[in-house]
């Protein structure tokens, strides 16, 4: 087999793998596809080519936190949405606020979350977020009771189409105003 043929063959295998995988594939996953050794720069080059091949097509090749995946272009969303009428309901505000606190302030304990929201938290919320694989326990805080510390997962980033936490919309963190400026205003 000529080298060009060989490269095309490798690219096809990668394409078939990405089109059939329901989760993102990392470079490491992709190297596992082949019995012989393949270097990461070659893989990256093939992925770039693949991205170009699909530039004008129905899916796009994107990179998210845990790897590469094909996903339908945005323009098809309204059509595809008609296929799944049993849509999951909207998320409750309590769940979204809990998720936001974990995403922006991680790692946090349940106590931290309750402190920020000013109300006790329903343990079901945490469980729901864990089942969705959006958060998990990354350790315990070294205080009496050793409460669990929660953080968001890679899967959370994948589901929100993000490469890393840095890509989250910036939080308008009013509280980060330093105390001196606050002080000044408060004297008024």
């Amino acid at each position: 087999m000529s080298e060009a043929n060989n490269l095309q063959e490798l690219k096809n295998i990668i394409e078939a793998a990405l089109l059939t995988s329901h989760q993102p594939l990392s470079l490491e996953d992709l190297t596992r596809l082949f019995p012989e050794r393949i270097e990461r720069p070659s893989l990256r080059m093939l992925l770039d080519e693949l991205k170009l091949d699909w530039a004008e097509r129905t899916l796009e090749l994107v990179q998210v936190a845990s790897g590469y995946r094909f996903q339908a272009r945005q323009q098809f969303t309204p059509f595809l949405a008609r296929l799944n009428p049993e849509k999951q309901g909207k998320y409750s505000r309590a769940l979204l606020e809990t998720l936001a606190i974990i995403a922006y302030k991680q790692p946090v304990t349940r106590g931290d979350i309750e402190e920020i929201r000013g109300v006790a938290i329903n343990p079901n919320l945490i469980r729901q977020l864990q089942e969705r694989d959006w958060i998990d326990i990354v350790g315990q805080r070294d205080v009496p009771g050793r409460p669990s510390l929660y953080a968001t997962t890679q899967h959370f980033l994948d589901d929100l189409n993000l490469l890393s936490l840095i890509e989250l919309p910036e939080m308008q963190d009013f509280s980060a105003l330093d105390n001196s400026s606050l002080d000044f205003n408060l004297q008024g």
Partner: protein
């Protein structure tokens, strides 16, 4: 401007607008008060509604407003979380500290409101962040990920499931959903459920069957025939199949509603 989003229906009518003043239609009161996520949320709402300066909160006014709402919650016996009462106490404390004359040497001490303001701002930031998270496209909702089929030849055997695992899982479901009394399943219901699936499968291949074809009178004993009959009735009740007869004494047909 932050508003408390309401997704409430009262007597079938969507109720999306917050009342502009303190008058709230009696039917709406409960839904309305329940829509606050907690004392901080309620305080933020009051501050925004009355256009108060969050950096220079008039404590007397805010405390008065807050207490009015809390009393309303109390009056309609809304389960009043201790969190709301704790906040009342904290606000009254701040108010009284502000009333005390300050000796000159502690003039530089932090404003008693500082901690409350910090918490309100932090909460408001989180509230905004939560809205932003909600609006982001997500896999399974607005993002569809490629998942074409491929033939799996797995080299390793998939995990085993034992009968005990399954029973334990079902017990767990029941424990959590204890209010679903009818989810308890006895053998009689199980055999009916099994036959429901069997009949639906048959109706997938043969779109329409004569009623009698569903029964094997020769091979099946009476109990099985009864179960089969019960399964047909249950399927019809759940709207999963249609039973039709053109005229009296003419053949009865069963067909899938799918």
């Amino acid at each position: 401007m932050i508003e408390t989003p309401l997704n409430a229906k009262i007597k079938g009518e969507a109720f999306t607008e917050l009342p502009l003043d303190l008058y709230i239609p009696p039917d709406a009161l409960e839904v309305y008060l329940e829509s606050f996520e907690g004392p901080l949320d309620l305080l933020l709402y009051l501050i925004r509604k009355h256009n108060l300066d969050i950096l220079d909160i008039p404590m007397a006014e805010l405390t008065r407003q807050y207490m009015q709402y809390v009393e309303k919650m109390h009056a309609i016996k809304l389960e009043l979380a201790g969190d709301y009462l704790l906040m009342s106490a904290m606000m009254i404390e701040i108010k009284s500290r502000m009333l005390l004359p300050k000796p000159a040497e502690i003039e530089s001490e932090l404003d008693p409101r500082a901690e409350l303001v910090r918490r309100l701002m932090e909460y408001e930031a989180i509230k905004l962040a939560a809205q932003q998270l909600d609006e982001m496209p997500k896999v399974g909702e607005d993002i569809s990920v490629a998942s074409a089929y491929y033939e799996q030849i797995s080299l390793v055997k998939p995990p085993e499931v034992s009968l005990e695992d399954l029973a334990a899982a079902w017990r767990n479901v029941l424990k959590r959903a204890s209010h679903y009394e009818h989810h308890k399943v006895g053998k009689a219901e199980l055999s009916v459920r099994e036959h429901m699936s069997i009949i639906l499968r048959r109706l997938k291949t043969d779109k329409m069957l004569e009623f009698s074809e569903l029964f094997d009178v020769v091979k099946d004993g009476i109990p099985k025939l009864v179960v089969c009959f019960l399964a047909i009735l249950e399927l019809a009740r759940e709207g999963l199949l249609r039973i039709t007869q053109q005229a009296a004494f003419s053949p009865i047909y069963v067909q899938s509603n799918s």
